[in-house]
């Protein structure tokens, strides 16, 4: 079955390449002022180059608000709709607020692909390129705590904004994992650092002061809070006494991993994420997503063939990049993002 599928895609590719005209794709991250999204841009641009070489040219433009601001993101996307792109790739600052403007895009016949952060209404977009399933991320984080501090650990979480949809879902997944596998693990508190360094740092310090020594681990599922929690633990002189893990890029965490205050960093490859998103958008526009036995498949370039989940964790039409990846002292130098 798979052989026919791959053959089909290759034929489609060749025939389209022979007659391919340039398509316009806009990519809008949550905001541009973070290395994580810079990495997604890098991957996206690499995909654009590859596709160009394959005879599938793309007029590609990456832009977004420089700071995380839902209103700005909506305005920018709305403005860009006037330029009639063929596809929009969006990481949504707010899962609800972005719905109407993306629906407008779809009404104009634009292919809408969300990546990194989805919107709550699946009819507002065609595909969601998810970095890793929410359950998988929650499970990996909690499992790491259990493996390193024991299944009865007392943990705290430092999150971003209380409105942050991804973080909230990951926290739900963590709670689920705890209930299912480690019922004796206890979540002491969740504090919100609003992705600001000073606030996240103080949140971590306050947690440590309030709970230690009845605190075994802190999880920070956001790239500003994670290093700040590490800083707080370092400052309190509790390296090795409190286990820290969370989501952030290896570049941001390298110093802390090398130091030893952080042993494991969980993430995925944002370069690949941006890369895959472009391939999915390109395929959707050019009709290169093939259906076999009721399931859609899309070619993810160098990354291989991807199945499109009709439904995954309550979300429709999901392309899953892969499982979460754990960075540690042994492999962290291999990555540059």
């Amino acid at each position: 079955m798979k052989k026919f599928l791959i053959l089909g895609i290759i034929i489609a590719l060749i025939s389209i390449a022979l007659a391919a005209e340039s398509i316009k794709i806009f990519m809008v991250p949550k905001f541009t002022g973070a290395p994580y999204f810079v990495a997604t841009e890098k991957g996206a641009k690499a995909a654009v180059e590859e596709l160009k070489a394959l005879g599938l040219p793309i007029d590609f433009y990456y832009t977004g608000s420089s700071v995380a601001n839902t209103e700005e993101e909506i305005r920018i996307i709305s403005n860009l709709l006037e330029q009639n792109p063929d596809a929009l790739i969006v990481s949504a600052n707010d899962e609800d607020a972005l719905v109407p403007v993306l629906k407008k895009a779809k009404q104009k016949g634009i292919v809408v692909v969300t990546y990194d952060a989805d919107v709550s209404d699946p009819t507002a977009r065609d595909y969601f390129v998810n970095q890793a399933s929410f359950d998988a991320i929650g499970a990996v984080l909690i499992d790491l705590v259990a493996e390193n501090v024991g299944p009865e650990a007392k943990i705290a979480i430092v999150s971003a904004d209380p409105n942050a949809a991804n973080q909230n879902r990951w926290i739900e997944a963590m709670k689920k994992r705890m209930k299912e596998k480690y019922p004796k693990m206890e979540l002491l508190t969740i504090k919100y650092g609003y992705d600001r360094p000073a606030e996240s740092f103080q949140a971590a310090q306050d947690i440590i002061n309030a709970y230690y020594p009845n605190l075994d681990a802190i999880i920070a599922p956001t790239s500003v809070a994670f290093p700040m929690v590490a800083e707080a633990v370092l400052k309190a002189g509790l390296k090795g006494k409190i286990y820290i893990t969370g989501l952030a890029t290896p570049n941001d965490m390298r110093k802390y991993v090398k130091d030893g205050v952080v042993k494991h960093v969980v993430l995925w490859n944002p370069v690949d994420l941006g890369y895959l998103a472009v391939y999915v958008a390109n395929a959707a526009v050019r009709g290169m997503i093939n259906e076999v036995d009721g399931t859609e498949y899309v070619c993810g370039g160098k990354l291989g063939l991807y199945k499109v989940y009709e439904e995954l964790e309550g979300k429709k039409s999901v392309v899953l990049l892969g499982p979460p990846f754990i960075f540690d002292i042994n492999n962290i130098d291999q990555f540059n993002f």
């Binding site: 541009t32 002022g33 433009y61 832009t63 977004g64 608000s65 420089s66 601001n69 839902t70 209103e71 700005e72 909506i74 305005r75 920018i76 709305s78 403005n79 860009l80 709709l81 006037e82 330029q83 707010d94 899962e95 609800d96 607020a97 972005l98 719905v99 109407p100 407008k104 709550s120 904004d161 209380p162 409105n163 942050a164 909230n168």
Partner: protein, 315 residues
């Protein structure tokens, strides 16, 4: 003797923006683009109207965006958990917003606490309460008709919400420039003590202004929720500074005594179309902030050069 009025300068700037932006991108001058860009300026536009009057009296209201967020959440809660019709819930929430504004007003007039201090505190408090009540989740699922009001357009072209803005702007303009209330506002701005002794009901005027500001913030909250299809506590973050920027850009003097609705509205239009054109011209957002800042400084400086006002007492 020709008197250069600020509004002429603003109009020229707006025209200049249009000219430059139309060169930078071919989509800018499309009617669909211009009208759609205005949709996203409605809430800001509505809130500049009471803000203009407040700044004319020498005051300020930093709590407008937070009030908008709180009203949005309250509307959502009233609709979803009390089961009241969304339109009525919106009106109720707007009235609650007016109440929040009235609280500002009471603290300012009865306790004589400076407006910037009161509204700085309520700015934090109101949004904080909105976050607590909503627990960081949005309330969604509003009826089609309500969402259509915020997202749809008349004849597929003119966003419905723009009409509300226009009506409020006209009413605001009439109040400020043609009514006795408006004269009171200016009197307070020129010389509050003098106004007090000339039987201007200073406290009552101010109280009304801050209540109105709250009402408009509540109304904007309703429009905002209709536009994005959700009630959220993070609505319009940083919006208060955007509103103030537009009002000041529009020629209203921060020290009081001078300003008008037309100017503020032009201020909103300039910022909106400037950003809109720069987006289409693919200028990065960070540079856009720099440009808006520079435009603001140039405008402010030119106002003082043009100004016919004598040297005023500072704040």
């Amino acid at each position: 003797m020709r008197v250069f009025r600020k509004e002429f300068v603003l109009l020229l700037v707006l025209i200049l923006v249009f000219v430059i932006m139309s060169f930078l991108s071919k989509e800018f001058l499309r009617v669909s683009n211009l009208l759609e860009a205005l949709r996203y300026a409605v809430e800001m536009g509505i809130m500049t109207i009471p803000m203009t009057m407040i700044i004319v009296t020498g005051g300020i209201d930093l709590s407008v965006a937070s009030n908008l967020a709180l009203s949005s959440i309250l509307m959502g809660i009233i609709w979803k958990y009390v089961g009241i019709n969304i339109w009525i819930a919106g009106i109720m929430a707007s009235i609650l917003g007016a109440g929040a504004g009235a609280l500002n007003g009471v603290l300012i007039t009865k306790l004589n606490i400076p407006p910037i201090v009161v509204t700085l505190a309520t700015m934090a408090a109101y949004r904080g309460i909105a976050t607590g009540l909503s627990r960081g989740r949005g309330i969604t699922g509003f009826p089609e008709s309500f969402q259509n009001f915020g997202q749809g357009s008349l004849g597929g072209l003119v966003p419905y919400s723009i009409f509300i803005w226009i009506i409020i702007a006209i009413i605001g303009h009439i109040i400020l420039s043609k009514s006795k209330f408006g004269r009171y506002v200016f009197a307070i701005g020129h010389n509050e003590v003098g106004a007090l002794y000339s039987t201007v009901p200073v406290a009552r005027v101010k109280f009304i202004l801050y209540t109105l500001s709250g009402l408009m913030a509540g109304l904007s909250g309703m429009i905002y929720s209709a536009r994005i299809g959700a009630s959220k506590s993070n609505a319009f973050m940083g919006g208060e500074l955007e509103v103030i920027t537009a009002v000041v850009l529009g020629g209203t003097s921060i020290t009081g005594g001078e300003g008008n609705i037309l100017g503020s509205t032009l201020g909103v239009l300039i910022i909106t179309f400037l950003k809109n054109g720069l987006n289409l011209a693919r200028i990065p957002h960070s540079i856009q902030s720099v440009i808006v800042g520079i435009v603001l400084v140039i405008a402010i400086v030119s106002y003082t050069k043009l100004g016919t006002r004598a040297f005023k007492e500072g704040k």
